[in-house]
Subunit: 403 residues, 2 copies
């Protein structure tokens, strides 16, 4: 049996760009190591989820790890909480939240002037226990925050307190079906208490004294209940590790009970310590069955719409991949993206992404370059759901179905 | 309407091998007829079940014949019985079984010294009726056997009598849920009776006299109930025949009420009468709608890890295929594998296999060679589930979905 290293170049797929004379960033990049791996591997294109679906990094990573997001995706609330570094557990209920400004019971600014200073204190003051329920709030960028509720029998069949417009009072939380009745009561009691605490909070008194907008209302939306999700071990029968930068992805891996590792100099964005991440993954593959690596910089450059930057990032990542060429005797390596982030679109598209599987003795297919065009000449037309099955069979780890 | 001939080269897919200068057995073989068919056909790769799944011949053949094994696969017990040439029917319960040696109620050898001589007599002696239930045992290789139980309301929600270790008594059969209660009682009564018969059997008395281990206990495991499976005619609306060597596959075809034909000199292994099988299939296609041919020798060579032998087997099979070139006016021919059996792995892998569909006037795709690399340059990326649909539409036998 071999170990498995799955390297996700976030948003690496792209479309031809004028800035690169009609080539994609992958095509334009000097990428001898990616091309060597393509030449010695089995290549193709992968549709994240399925052909034409525009997916998030969250849903795509779940499916790459063997979890159908149609079954297990808990919605945006829990991923917002994971993204702020909060721990969540099966059964928890999580919300996206805003600090907002109300006056005489009416929301006059849903974003409380986009203030951030002091929000950590505000969040801590409303992280409280009430009876059997535990409420934790963490501040994010500007006015943004997340709320995680733990306790018995929580339901996400409830609406938002956010009225989504100014000039209205905050909504009472309403159940969307009878199973949400109790949770709606719990939430309304909590939001009343939070309002009481915030209205009297020193940070807000200070803001008002200076003529700034107080964060005296917590508006919550996108309730999502964390499903009863099997651990990575239970699902795939492998000891899993990850080397990833994004807080939400670390949180997802913790939720799946994978071992989460940090690498010095790994920033989760452009200029990260790519070599350190690949080296760490190679080392981890000695005592783990499966290692996930995510490199975020390609996605960041795509969202920036910067073709030249994306090309340069790919060149840097390629240099870091050199050591992978010599581990085919003991590991199976897959390199792909979780989706495309075309510079022309500056967001995730539903295009297919290149994929290569490499290990010693694999049925290679005569593809010599790793990019959107060349990989499409390879053998495979797969979806993200197939990746784990292919990796496991190449690693000699599959159970036979039948005999 | 044309007739259909589906030729499964068992385990034909492979990976590049040093013994063949980095080529696969298919690539290395002189195969003018396979290549002619590829040149005149539509080509591609087929994932048995789905991409990356390592499947058995049993599950793969079921899906090639149009039966989803997730719905219809009865487990290993029934296929073990089919493999020993036993007839099984819907509703029957079948087990894998061992003749074992017990002393003072404790299993001292789970394999009864791997003795085979006399096992047919032992099996016949415990093939009995008890009340409404009929028990049939057949001896297999060495100590191995199969047990088929027929009777009302049988359930496979029961455990094994095999303790899976020496030094323990045989297990009482226990239900794994309440629906197995009655079947567990029936089985325990039978196994008590079998023990009584075996302990006193002349074959065993003779063995003990000579200091050899008696087969005085039948250990059973892998209970599987044969599902209510529609016949090949009911499923596909075609009169089906098969020319196959493996006993389990003959049994499957009988279960599906297909016509099963033997060919003189067809052995189900290397050196079989390949020409006889292809000629028989061509003849059967005159008065049947569908003919399945399985040639096992490629799989045998793969399990042996013998690249040169697998290449030679393919060359012999290729010679036998010459007559297929002239039947495109009246038949559709598909040639593929049920899975890969790479010589380097010596077992079934989850790699895709080459596939070609040939008939006069088919939309051919410029592929000129039949092998893992060249076929991958063709039009098709399919799974085993798609094969029957493609065959039927090329034969002009499909119902329109919609209007």
């Amino acid at each position: 049996m071999k170990s498995i290293i799955l390297i996700v170049l976030d948003g690496v797929g792209d479309r031809p760009g004028k800035d690169l004379q009609g080539r994609t960033p992958l095509q334009a990049a000097y990428r001898p190591n990616l091309n060597w791996i393509a030449s010695h591997g089995i290549n193709g294109i992968m549709h994240p989820i399925s052909a034409g679906i525009r997916c998030g990094s969250d849903t795509s990573h779940m499916s790459l790890l063997g979890y159908d997001p149609k079954v297990y995706y808990p919605g945006r609330g829990p991923f917002e909480a994971l993204g702020l570094g909060m721990d969540i557990q099966s059964g928890d209920l999580a919300f996206r939240a805003n600090f907002a400004t109300s006056r005489d019971g009416v929301i006059i600014d849903r974003r409380a002037g986009r203030e951030n200073r002091g929000n950590e204190d505000l969040a801590r003051s409303i992280s409280i226990d009430m009876g059997e329920y535990r409420f934790r709030v963490r501040s994010g960028v500007e006015h943004r925050a997340a709320l995680v509720v733990s306790g018995p029998d929580l339901s996400d069949r409830i609406g938002d307190s956010d009225p989504h417009r100014e000039g209205l009072p905050p909504e009472r939380i309403r159940p969307t079906d009878p199973s949400g009745n109790r949770t709606a009561d719990v939430m309304n009691a909590y939001l009343d208490e939070a309002r009481r605490i915030l209205s009297d909070h020193e940070v807000n008194r200070e803001r008002m004294k200076n003529g700034r907008l107080p964060g005296n209302e917590l508006l919550v939306r996108s309730a999502g209940k964390v499903p009863d999700i099997p651990s990575f071990w239970e699902k795939n029968h492998m000891k899993g590790a990850c080397v990833v930068g994004s807080p939400w992805l670390k949180g997802l891996c913790r939720l799946l009970k994978m071992d989460v590792f940090d690498v010095p100099g790994a920033t989760g964005t452009i200029g990260s310590n790519y070599s350190g991440k690949i080296e760490k993954a190679s080392a981890l593959a000695e005592n783990h069955d499966f290692v996930l690596v995510n490199i975020k910089a390609t996605d960041v450059a795509g969202h920036d719409g910067n073709y030249l930057l994306k090309r340069d990032v790919i060149e840097d990542i390629d240099m870091a991949m050199e050591p992978l060429k010599s581990i085919g005797d003991r590991s199976v390596v897959c390199i792909t993206g979780d989706h495309s982030t075309p510079c022309s679109f500056r967001d995730h598209s539903g295009d297919p992404v290149p994929v290569v599987f490499f290990t010693d003795g694999v049925l290679n297919d005569g593809v010599h370059l790793f990019d959107e065009f060349s990989s499409a000449k390879g053998s495979l037309r797969i979806t993200s759901y197939n990746v784990m099955d292919i990796l496991m069979q190449l690693a000699g780890r599959s159970e036979k179905f039948g005999s």
